[in-house]
C-alpha cells in the first residue's frame, strides 16, 4: 500500500468521526424546535447549528481528500510527491478542527471587532470558522493540490480523469477565498458567498465526486477507462452547463437585478436533466454486470448516490426552484428538506461507497460482505428519507402560513411554527433523526469489522 493510501485511511477515519459529531449536533438542533427552553443562554440553537453545518462541510472535504489520496498513486503508479508534508498537515487539520470546535462550544461568540473574526466566530453560514482556521484550510488544500500536480509531473503521466480533477481543484480552492472577507453590504456579501457555496456543492464538488465515482466504477465493476472518461466529460458538460448559471437560483431575492429570476429559474430547472442521465447510467452499470460485484456494500452505496442525488437534488430542487414557488418556499424548512436530501444523495452516499471500497483493499478481503452494512444502509437511508419528509411537511406549512398567508412578519412566523403541521413535521424529523443516528452507529460497527472475519471462498460471487 502506498503511504498516501495509508493517509487516505486516516482521512476517512476522521471523516467518519466528524460524521458522527455532525449527527449528534443535528439531533440537538432538532430538539430545540420541540423544547425551546433547552439550554437557553447556555448553548443556544445557533451554536448547535454551527457545529452541525461545519462538521458537514469538513467531513465531506476530508472524505474527498482521502479519496484522492487513495486513488492518485494507483492512477499514476507513483507515490504521492510531498506525502510527508501531507501527513503532518493531516494532524494539523484535525487539531485545528478540534480547537475551532472547542472555541465554538466554550466561547461561542466575541465582540464586534476583528479579533472575533480572526479567532472566534465569523458568523457567515458554513464558513463561521475564524480566519486563522480558514487560513489553515487554505494551507491544507494548497498542499493537497501540490501533491496532486507534483505527482503527475514526477510520474510523467496524465489521464483524462486526472486532468478533470486538477482543473476542478483550481476553482474549488480559489472559491474558498470567500471564507475571509467581512463585507458590509449584505447583497454583495451574499452575492460572493453563493459563489463559494453553490459553486462548491452544485459545481466543483459535483465534478470532484464525478472523478471519484469514475475511479470507483473502474475498481468496482472493471469498467473501462474510456467509458468512464467519456461519461465524466458528459457529466461535466451538463452539470457545469446548467449549474454555472443555475447559481442564479440563489440570486432571486438578495437585492440583485430582476433578470436573475428568469436566468436562474431557467438554468436551475435544467439541473435535474444530467442527474436523470446518471440514474440511467447507474441502471446500465448495475444491469450489465448483473449486480455481480465482490463488494456489495460499495456498489449499493454507489446506486444510492445516483438515486439520492437525482431525488434529493433533482426532484426536491425542481419542486422549489421556479421563482413563483420559491418566493414562498425561500427561507423555510422546505429548503432544509431539500438541502439534507441533496447533500446526502450527492456526497454522503458517495463517500461511504468509497470507504467500503477502500476497506476491501486494506483488509485484503476477496469477498466483502456482512449483515451489518445492510442494516446501516437501511437505517441511514430510511432515517434520512423520513427526516426529509418531516421537514418537507413543516416547510410547506411554513410556506403557506408564514409566507403566502401571513406576510412573513414575526407574527406570521409564530403562527406557522405553532401550526400542527409544522409541529408534526418537527416531531417526525426528530424521530427519523434518531433512526439515522442508529444507522450511523451500525455503520461504524460495520466499518470496524467488515472483511476482518475468516475469508470466504474466492470464487463466491453474489447475484441480485
Amino acid at each position: 500500500m502506498y503511504r498516501s493510501q495509508r493517509l487516505a485511511v486516516r482521512y476517512f477515519t476522521a471523516a467518519i468521526a466528524l460524521f458522527g459529531i455532525m449527527t449528534a449536533a443535528g439531533l440537538l438542533t432538532a430538539a430545540y424546535y420541540l423544547q425551546p427552553s433547552l439550554l437557553y443562554n447556555v448553548f443556544d440553537f445557533q451554536m448547535a447549528k454551527i457545529l452541525h453545518i461545519n462538521t458537514l462541510v469538513i467531513w465531506l472535504l476530508m472524505g474527498f481528500i482521502g479519496a484522492v489520496y487513495w486513488f492518485l498513486p494507483k492512477e499514476l503508479e507513483h507515490e504521492v510527491v510531498g506525502i510527508r508534508l501531507a501527513e503532518i498537515l493531516f494532524y494539523v487539520f484535525c487539531a485545528a478542527v478540534a480547537v475551532v470546535a472547542v472555541v465554538f462550544i466554550l466561547v461561542q461568540y466575541g465582540s464586534s471587532n476583528q479579533f472575533s473574526m480572526w479567532f472566534i466566530n465569523q458568523g457567515r453560514k458554513y464558513v463561521e470558522a475564524p480566519r486563522w482556521a480558514a487560513l489553515g484550510i487554505v494551507v491544507v488544500v494548497l498542499t493537497f493540490v501540490f501533491n496532486v500536480v507534483a505527482t503527475a509531473v514526477r510520474a510523467r503521466r496524465m489521464t483524462g480523469i486526472l486532468w478533470v480533477l486538477m482543473l476542478d481543484l483550481v476553482p474549488l480552492s480559489v472559491l474558498y477565498l470567500d471564507a475571509f472577507p467581512q463585507i458590509t453590504n449584505m447583497s454583495h456579501d451574499l452575492y460572493w458567498w453563493w459563489w463559494l457555496v453553490h459553486m462548491w456543492v452544485e459545481a466543483t464538488w459535483e465534478v470532484l465526486i464525478g472523478c471519484l465515482m469514475a475511479w470507483s466504477l473502474m475498481e468496482l465493476l472493471g469498467t473501462s477507462r474510456r467509458i468512464v472518461e467519456a461519461w465524466l466529460y458528459i457529466e461535466v458538460m451538463l452539470v457545469l452547463g446548467t449549474g454555472i448559471l443555475g447559481l442564479g437560483h440563489h440570486y432571486f431575492w438578495i437585492g440583485t437585478p430582476q433578470y436573475w429570476l428568469s436566468i436562474g429559474g431557467f438554468f436551475s430547472a435544467l439541473e435535474p436533466l444530467p442527474l436523470l442521465g446518471m440514474v440511467v447510467h447507474a441502471i446500465y452499470d448495475a444491469g450489465t454486470h448483473r449486480m455481480q460485484t465482490t463488494n456489495r456494500p460499495a456498489f449499493c452505496w454507489v446506486l444510492a448516490e445516483a438515486f439520492g442525488n437525482f431525488i434529493g437534488a433533482g426532484v426536491f430542487g425542481f419542486m422549489m426552484t421556479l421563482p413563483q414557488i420559491n418566493l414562498y418556499s425561500h427561507g423555510t424548512q422546505w429548503t432544509v428538506s431539500h438541502g439534507h436530501f441533496a447533500f446526502w444523495g450527492a456526497y454522503g452516499c458517495g463517500i461511504i461507497a468509497i470507504v467500503y471500497l477502500v476497506l476491501q483493499r486494506t483488509r485484503d478481503a476477496r469477498f466483502f460482505d456482512s449483515r451489518a452494512w445492510k442494516w446501516s444502509f437501511g437505517l441511514l437511508n430510511f432515517g434520512l428519507v423520513g427526516m426529509v419528509g418531516g421537514l418537507l411537511i413543516a416547510g410547506i406549512a411554513q410556506a403557506v402560513y408564514e409566507r403566502a398567508q401571513g406576510g412573513s412578519t414575526l407574527q406570521a412566523f409564530v403562527v406557522a411554527t405553532e401550526s400542527p403541521w409544522f409541529q408534526s413535521g418537527m416531531y417526525v424529523r426528530l424521530a427519523f433523526g434518531v433512526v439515522f443516528a442508529l444507522g450511523y452507529v451500525v455503520l461504524v460497527y460495520d466499518l470496524l469489522t467488515i472483511g476482518k472475519r475468516a475469508p470466504v471462498a474466492a470464487t463466491q460471487v453474489v447475484s441480485a
Binding site: A269, L276, G277, V280, I283, T288, G314, F316, M319
Partner: protein
C-alpha cells in the same frame, strides 16, 4: 398565488421530475431484461409526466413563457433515457471492440 395553488404546483413539479426518473429507471430495466412490460411501464411513467405537465400548463399560475419552457423540457425528458442508453451501449461496444 393562493396557498392551494402553491402546494399543487410545487407537488406537480416535483412529481413531474420524479416520474421522469421512474421512466428512466423502468426504460433501463426493460432494455436490460428485454422486457416489454418494463419498457411499457417506463413509457407509462413518461405519459404520467406529460399529464402532469398538461395540468401545470392548464392550471398553474405561471406566465406563458415559463409554460413554454416546461413543455420543451418535458419533451427533452422523453429523449434522455433512450439517448443515454444508446450512448452507453455504443461506448461499451466500442470499448470492447478495441484492444
Amino acid at each position: 398565488m393562493t396557498p392551494m395553488a402553491l402546494f399543487a404546483t410545487a407537488t406537480a413539479l416535483g412529481l413531474f421530475v420524479l416520474s421522469g426518473g421512474a421512466y428512466g429507471v423502468l426504460y433501463g430495466a426493460g432494455s436490460l431484461r428485454s422486457s416489454r412490460l418494463l419498457t411499457r411501464a417506463g413509457y407509462a411513467c413518461y405519459g404520467l409526466q406529460l399529464l402532469l405537465l398538461l395540468a401545470v400548463c392548464l392550471a398553474a399560475p405561471l406566465a406563458g413563457l415559463w409554460k413554454v419552457f416546461l413543455i420543451v423540457s418535458g419533451i427533452t425528458y422523453g429523449f434522455i433515457p433512450p439517448a443515454t442508453w444508446r450512448l452507453l451501449h455504443a461506448l461499451h461496444h466500442r470499448s470492447e471492440a478495441e484492444p
